[in-house]
Amino acid sequence: MTSPAARAESPFDEGFLRRLEQLELASRRLTAGRMKGERRSTKRGQSVEFADYRNYAAGDDLRQLDWNVYARLERLFVKLFVEEEDVTVHLLVDASRSMDYGEPSKLVVARRAAGALAYLGLAHLDRVSVAFLGDGRAMPLQALRGKQRIFEIFRFLDAVPRVRATGLAAAARDYAARLRGLGPLVLLSDLMDPGYEDALRQLAATRCQLSVLHVLAPQELDPALPSDARLVDAESEAGVEVTADDDLLERYRERLAAWQAELTTFCARRGGTYVPLATDVPLADLLFDLLRRRGVVT
């Protein structure tokens, strides 16, 4: 499992891979038996599968009448088939510079989470599509399938493209336009972009199962600042002067909580899931606790 290339400065170092392996085993133990009924794959050899009958109504496709039943019962029934389900797991990592903050940086945590999710997806025989969002466009890796392809994904996640600005909305629109195959869509971002709502709207419109992993550093959740500070934006390098008294910090925390509540509602309204993710949360907790509780993974 260990790749020498993935070692240096890579979020996917040996320790990560070992943990991932344990996770996979644990994941199997936990999810065995559930997989079959819930996510149908094309491996069964059928592209269409009978699901149910219903009464014929005028305008229904005549090709789908079950003539055998008509012969026996002299009544018209339409055969319903399970739609073809070629599940693709979409993992979108925000590569904007604001993600490069914190220790470990939000980007590292997001990449690790994406890698782990990709690994789980591949292990569940899903197609996995990984993409970086940045500079107003999506930079995807072609969808892969098969557990052995995981290293391609790691390599892709290791090579973070240099981006100047996020342009999250434009990037999401770009990805949505090129999207192939439905399935869970996980956005890993700090959403610190004025266009975050637009981006979420774009992604939700793809009819994919939208999950937002909102990655925030502990310093962002509960900032400790010198009393008088000029906050320099990592992206725009614009400064904001603050006098960080208790009052301001209190209002910051309130604002943050309000924002998170807003995002939760926004996602819920679109059938999505919002998961706040602090970068100091261990990966195992993320996968088996946070995401399961929210129903992102099952």
Binding site: P194, R230, E235, V240, D246
Partner: protein, 648 residues
């Protein structure tokens, strides 16, 4: 505001605000995104009147601090209404009642406090003269604008044991106030002095009334009398209760320091209780009456009496027999009266000489001996010249002139209804003064010292007037006898009022004398036996010692002053109405100033601490940590959790 220039310091306030607005030296803190912060700050900026000024407690505290300091530096004052004039004569009552205690604090201390208050309220540049007044006035601080000096002088004022008399003080205050058109007389007193000055003051008089207690009892009278020829001593004591409550007090009598009698006296409020004690040994020289226990005023709880020596004065009446005269003299307890005819005079003298019992007093009725008698003498209607002066023609029906009220020989003697049918003109000898005269100045009664002996003379015979039929007669005779043959308590009267000087008349042979009072002894300067006994300033017995240590006399000084013993504060209007109403100019005088910068400075100190704390601003979490650490260090039990634990 006294220093308005300091208000320029207010310019510091906008400067502080400007610093807050211009504070650009902020530490750059890289953050992932200012996305949220920018929203927050926009919120603030939208509400703030200044674009960059944000509310900060630190700013508020600093502004307050600067404001306080600037105001304090400007020395603000409260203009109190024109209360006192620029020239104040401050009279502090130091009479005996000021030694009373009100709630455990001497009344004089209350008075000093009030007096210091007056000094504090002086207008700017005001001058004050501090006068301490008991029975006379003493200037302790003369017209000074140095308030500290005035306060020091006030602190040195102590209560005396003297009865109060404001006459002196008011005369002095009046003179001092007259020097300055804008003057006030402020009297700090309990206003219970008996003597209200008869003079007005040419300035408004204000009274700072002190005192509250009235719980005082006093020994109001103490006198002794020999009875049964000097074999018994009768002591008369009166105890006054001027307070508003019925009391029981224990009265103790001491004879020469030994307790000889004690009794409980029940004294109704405002009443007086009297006792006659006969158990005092007749040999006692000094009797002291003392009220046991304590009350508001201690000075009047003890009184002293000097027992007159009971040696009788052998008196010889020389004449044809005069029942009036003999009866009047026989009434005087200290005289042992003998009578003899003119012919038997020489024989009687010789007999007394032989027996070693010389006469101490001779009374010649219508007779003048050839040679002056060997002792003091009283001549009644002398027909011839004698040592007392020369006798002239007969005057018919002389009227009795006005008696000098200060004349001790005429004390208690009312001669206004006396008629004299006939008298002889009298020309007093040297050393003999006229005591009573006709309106024309013709002497009727004279007394004096001739040849070292005291003599008195009546220029008319008793049978030529209705004097013997009047009450005045025995009193006059008693006074004359006292004058020529002084009471035998030595050379001092048995009792002298506090503050009263006494003219000493000692035998010329006495060259030096010392006044001993307790442990204190004061030399008395004498010139040919004459001198002045300094007035007593405290209750007690004083002894006059001769140069060889012999006791020349004793005298007691007591505060028998009902007004002083009644320590209840009196009516201040008695004094204020002696003053003049303030004039319009005085009413419109410049207000006085009380500075109040120091509370501002006191307020600034905690603000400074608050500013420091705010600046270093321990975060809430740090404060919580600190508190937890403190709690752990002090092992405060966490009751809630511990109580819940066993249930789980």
């Amino acid at each position: 505001v006294i220093a308005p220039l300091a208000l320029l310091g207010l310019l510091i306030l906008p400067i502080i605000v400007a610093f807050y607005m211009l504070r650009l030296r902020r530490r750059d803190v890289p953050v992932g995104s200012t996305f949220l912060w920018a929203q927050l700050v926009r919120d603030v900026e939208a509400n703030a009147p200044w674009q960059r000024l944000r509310f900060s407690w630190l700013l508020v505290v600093q502004l307050l601090l600067a404001l306080l300091l600037v105001i304090a530096a400007a020395r603000p004052f409260v203009a109190t209404d024109a209360e006192l004039a620029a020239n104040v004569v401050l009279v502090v009552d130091t009479s005996a009642s000021m030694g009373a205690e009100d709630d455990g604090v001497p009344r004089i201390e209350h008075a000093r406090r009030a007096a210091r208050g007056v000094v504090d309220r002086l207008p700017v540049g005001g001058r004050v003269t501090v006068v301490a007044a008991a029975d006379s006035a003493e200037v302790v601080a003369a017209e000074t604008d140095d308030r500290d000096a005035a306060r020091a002088a006030i602190d040195g004022i102590e209560a005396t044991q003297l009865p109060g008399d404001m006459t002196d003080a008011f005369a002095l205050a009046s003179a001092l106030a007259a020097r300055h058109p804008d003057s006030d007389v402020v009297l700090v007193t309990d206003a219970n002095a008996a003597q209200i000055p008869g003079v007005g003051v040419g300035a408004p008089v204000r009274v700072e009334l002190v005192g509250s207690s009235d719980a005082n009892q006093a020994v109001a009278a103490l006198s002794t009398r020999a009875r049964a020829g000097g074999t018994e001593l009768e002591v008369f004591v009166a105890v006054n209760n001027p307070s508003g409550a019925d009391v029981r007090r224990r009265l103790e009598l001491y004879a020469d320091g030994d307790l000889v009698d004690a009794r409980e006296l029940a004294i109704p409020a405002g009443q007086r209780s009297e006792a006659i004690v006969t158990s005092v040994p007749p040999a006692a020289t000094v009797v002291e009456a003392r009220l046991a226990g304590s009350d508001a005023l201690a000075v009047d709880d003890a009184a002293f009496a000097v027992v007159p020596r009971s040696e009788p004065v052998r008196t010889l009446i020389v004449g044809e027999g005069n029942a009036y005269l003999e009866n009047a003299l026989a009434l005087l307890p200290r005289l042992e009266v003998y009578a003899v005819g003119v012919q038997g005079y020489a024989q009687a003298l010789a007999d007394a000489e032989d027996a070693g019992t010389p006469y101490g007093l001779f009374v010649f009725d219508r007779h003048v001996p050839d040679t002056p008698p060997p002792a003091a003498a009283i001549y009644v209607g002398p027909p011839d010249d004698g040592e007392f002066g020369t006798i002239g023609e007969v005057v018919d029906g002389p009227a009795v002139g006005r008696a000098d009220p200060a004349e001790p020989l005429l004390r208690y003697v009312d001669l206004s209804t006396v008629h004299i049918g006939r008298a002889r003109t009298l020309t007093p000898a040297d050393g003999v003064r006229t005591v009573l005269a006709t309106p024309d100045g013709l002497p009727l009664v004279a007394a004096g010292t001739v040849g070292g002996r005291d003599v008195a003379v009546l220029a008319f015979a008793l049978g030529d007037s209705d004097l013997p039929l009047q009450v005045a007669f025995p009193l006059l005779m008693s006074n004359l006898v006292d004058a020529v043959a002084p009471p035998a308590a030595g050379y001092l009267p048995p009792s002298l009022a506090l503050g009263e000087p006494y003219a000493l008349r000692l035998p010329a042979s006495v060259e030096a004398a010392t006044l001993v009072e307790g442990d204190r002894s004061t030399p008395v300067s004498l010139t040919a036996g004459r001198g002045t006994l300094p007035p007593a300033d405290s209750v007690g017995v004083r002894q006059l010692h001769g140069g060889d240590g012999t006791v020349l006399g004793r005298t007691a000084a007591n505060l028998f002053d009902a007004a002083e013993s009644s320590v209840r504060p009196g009516d201040p209007a008695r004094f204020t109405e002696l003053g003049r109403q303030p004039s319009a100019a005085q009413a419109a005088r410049e207000p006085s100033r009380t500075e109040w910068w120091w509370p501002l400075v006191l307020l600034a100190l905690p603000l400074l601490v608050a500013e420091w704390l705010l600046f270093h601003r321990p975060s809430r979490r740090a404060a919580g940590r600190w508190l937890r650490g403190l709690r752990a260090a002090m092992r405060w039990p966490r009751l809630g959790r511990r109580a819940a634990a066993p249930g789980r």
